[in-house]
């Protein structure tokens, strides 16, 4: 996104993922586009149910095909993933594209040793022997910082600590040197020190292999740490995007502003109250008309003609920077500044 001369490695165009349920159609992702270059990290931020995880399961082709309708385009290195056969996807998964999940305990098989689970991926994609796979598993465990990997390789996931499990998961995802790594809230279940270690590990490995990373989180602090570019999702749509600096320093969408106001700042005054975003995430079964954020937005009245509740704002992107809001650009800066200032008083 940042450097236009680079051919995007992963390109998602106008992706729509709709589930048919008994109650109707759930529009989990509703027109999402983004690009990701090799060696870069895209942070996707949003609340639960904003479509972050669905997007990434769809990239891997792991959605429930019987009840899902998908439109749009997902291209990974010139390969259209949405038209790929299951066979082709199986060859890509774990090999060219890999995923790290949030809950490592639940996501690792309780019935197989760590070494077997790591080695299995390796064998599947390289045809290595059991012995080679085991050696590779030990090597990977060492690389992600598991002490005594020769011994721990035969442990089961429940014998690992939370942080070690997540490391093992990363080892498993990276065993075939994937070019795309999707990390779905990999640090959410970990305590802060372990979280920092895992983030450092991911950054190191990215440097080493030039992996493109899609990092899903609801934690802006994590985004600030790892992302190059940021995409903010709300109700299955992108509401704001840009580089990390642009989005975090100068948010253009009221939702992004809300997310930042609900987070404590370490360098600001201590007595500034945190301000939660009122209301709850929208129903994707029956989303609000107009802008999906308008029922919770503090600036609805600043837009004339009730536009917010009647018309969907268009995401206008200029050189990778954009937001979807009816609020006139020139007014935003002032209004947002006022809103921040009012918190400080």
């Amino acid at each position: 996104m940042t450097s236009t001369e680079q051919q995007p490695f992963l390109s998602v165009r106008d992706l729509k993922v709709h589930f048919s349920t008994e109650d109707g159609i759930v529009k989990a992702v509703d027109g999402l586009s983004f690009d990701l270059a090799k060696g870069k990290t895209l942070g996707i931020v949003g609340e639960s149910g904003s479509g972050k995880s669905v997007t990434n399961l769809t990239i891997l082709g792991l959605h429930d095909r019987d009840h899902t309708s998908i439109e749009g385009e997902i291209v990974l290195d010139d390969k259209d993933l949405l038209t790929a056969t299951e066979r082709e996807l199986e060859r890509l998964r774990g090999n060219k594209m890999a995923m790290i999940f949030q809950d490592a305990l639940a996501s690792l098989s309780p019935y197989h040793t760590i070494g077997k689970q790591i080695g299995e991926t390796y064998r599947k994609h390289t045809g290595a022997s059991k012995k080679e796979a085991r050696a590779r598993a030990i090597e990977m465990l060492r690389r992600v910082g598991i002490p005594q990997p020769e011994m721990r390789v035969d442990d089961y996931p429940h014998q690992f600590s939370g942080g070690m499990r997540q490391r093992a998961m990363i080892a498993m995802a990276l065993v075939c040197d994937p070019e795309l790594l999707i990390a779905d809230e990999p640090t959410t279940a970990l305590d802060v020190t372990v979280q920092a270690q895992i983030m450092d590990l991911l950054k190191d490995l990215q440097q080493e292999f030039g992996t493109a990373i899609v990092f899903i989180t609801h934690d802006l602090g994590v985004i600030a740490d790892i992302a190059d570019d940021v995409l903010v999702m709300y109700g299955g749509r992108c509401v704001e995007r840009g580089t990390k600096e642009e989005v975090l320093r100068d948010p253009q969408h009221p939702y992004t502003l809300g997310l930042m106001s609900s987070m404590p700042s370490l360098d600001g005054p201590v007595d500034v109250p945190l301000e939660p975003i009122p209301g709850s995430p929208p129903s994707l079964l029956n989303p609000p008309t107009g802008c999906r954020f308008h029922p919770r937005c503090a600036f609805v009245e600043k837009v004339e003609g009730g536009l917010c509740s009647s018309e969907q704002p268009v995401l206008t992107v200029l050189e990778g920077r954009g937001s979807a809001c009816h609020l006139p650009k020139e007014q935003r800066k002032e209004l947002f500044a006022d809103s921040v200032a009012s918190r400080h008083n």
């Binding site: 891997l60 792991l62 019987d66 299951e86 199986e90 060859r91 890509l92 998964r93 774990g94 090999n95 890999a98 995923m99 999940f101 809950d103 639940a106 996501s107 690792l108 098989s109 309780p110 019935y111 689970q117 299995e120 991926t121 599947k124 994609h125 089961y156 429940h158 998961m169 498993m172």
Partner: protein, 326 residues
């Protein structure tokens, strides 16, 4: 594992001890005198006394129980029957036959019935359950679910007689249920037991179909199954090596219980098909107030259940490494 087995076997012995003591006590709580029954019409107090002595019931309940118990390990001497070698479970009040020998005569039939039927209902039940789980919500799934609901609502005495009437009587496809020892004539063993196996399977299969289906559906929605798919493993591989591994535990558990119950005696099945197994033996000994036989059968049935429970726990630990046996 070794410590686990030692502890569990010890526990099992205690349980068997308690069960046999309760059976003993319950038997005497019923106001019926076995000596009186075998004494006949012209019964004198002397005769009665002699019969009591012969049967070994002239002592207090506690002493009787002690003699019964020590007889199992050390054998015992009866005034009426002479020496009874260990393991001695006494002699039947009804026909004076040694209990241990009678049970050993009847056991092969019951074991054949139980294990034969188990092979059928495990294969059909688990197979159908897996098929249903892999075709969730589709026709095959609904079909398997309906059939298994139907199957589980049927009763052996109903299905058994209907099957006998049509398959044996009207159509003559299967032969009349009978028992030939496997070692004598394997073909006759199979043909004689095929009908009871099938009928027993109909009843049991349903449980396994439903259990397998629900366990597989649950496991398939687990995160680790998704991870396995994300690694590039095929659907089939994930289905059998991951989901089935997780689904197996509860199935092994109910199988252990079912097998224990079947070996303790498929009373209704054996009665329906006129087979002389442990189940029939149990029922007859109740009607005849045959304490030694009843005790023998009860301890065997309890033993089967207790042993299969231990086996289930051990197998469970093999399946799921999170379970530590100590």
């Amino acid at each position: 594992m070794f410590r686990f087995l030692v502890r569990r076997v010890f526990g099992a012995l205690v349980i068997l001890l308690i069960i046999s003591a309760i059976t003993f006590w319950l038997f005497y709580a019923v106001p019926r005198d076995p000596a009186m029954m075998s004494c006949g019409k012209n019964c004198t107090p002397e005769n009665l006394e002699q019969i009591r002595k012969n049967l070994g019931i002239d002592e207090s309940i506690v002493m009787q129980y002690w003699h019964w118990l020590s007889g199992i390990f050390a054998g015992r001497d009866y005034a009426g029957y002479g020496n009874c070698e260990a393991p001695c479970l006494g002699y039947s009040f009804a026909n004076n036959q040694p209990v241990y020998g009678t049970i050993m005569d009847r056991l092969p039939l019951t074991l054949s019935l139980a294990f034969g039927a188990a092979i059928f209902f495990l294969i059909i039940g688990i197979g159908a359950g897996m098929l249903a789980a892999s075709k969730q919500g589709k026709f095959l799934d609904k079909f398997a679910s309906s059939v298994s609901l139907l199957g589980s609502s049927l009763q052996i005495y109903f299905v058994g007689y209907i099957a006998m009437f049509f398959l044996v009587g009207e159509l003559g496809i299967l032969s009349q249920p009978s028992y030939t020892p496997l070692t004598d004539d394997p073909a006759a063993w199979v043909s004689g037991l095929l009908l009871p196996w099938l009928v027993l399977s109909i009843i049991f299969t349903a449980n396994y179909t439903r259990m397998t289906r629900s366990q597989m559906v649950e496991q398939l929605s687990e995160d680790y199954v998704r991870t396995a798919r994300a690694k590039g493993l095929s659907k089939r591989n994930v289905f059998f090596r991951f989901a089935w591994r997780g689904a197996m535990g509860p199935i092994v558990t109910i199988f252990g219980v079912d097998l224990g119950v079947l070996i303790g005696g498929a009373i209704i099945t054996e009665t329906t098909f006129s087979l002389q197994g442990i189940g029939r033996l149990a029922i007859e000994s109740v009607f005849k107030s045959d304490l030694p036989m009843l005790l023998g059968v009860t301890v065997l049935a309890a033993g089967a259940i207790v042993i299969f429970n231990i086996v289930v726990d051990a197998v469970y630990a093999l399946i799921d490494p999170r379970i530590r046996l100590a």
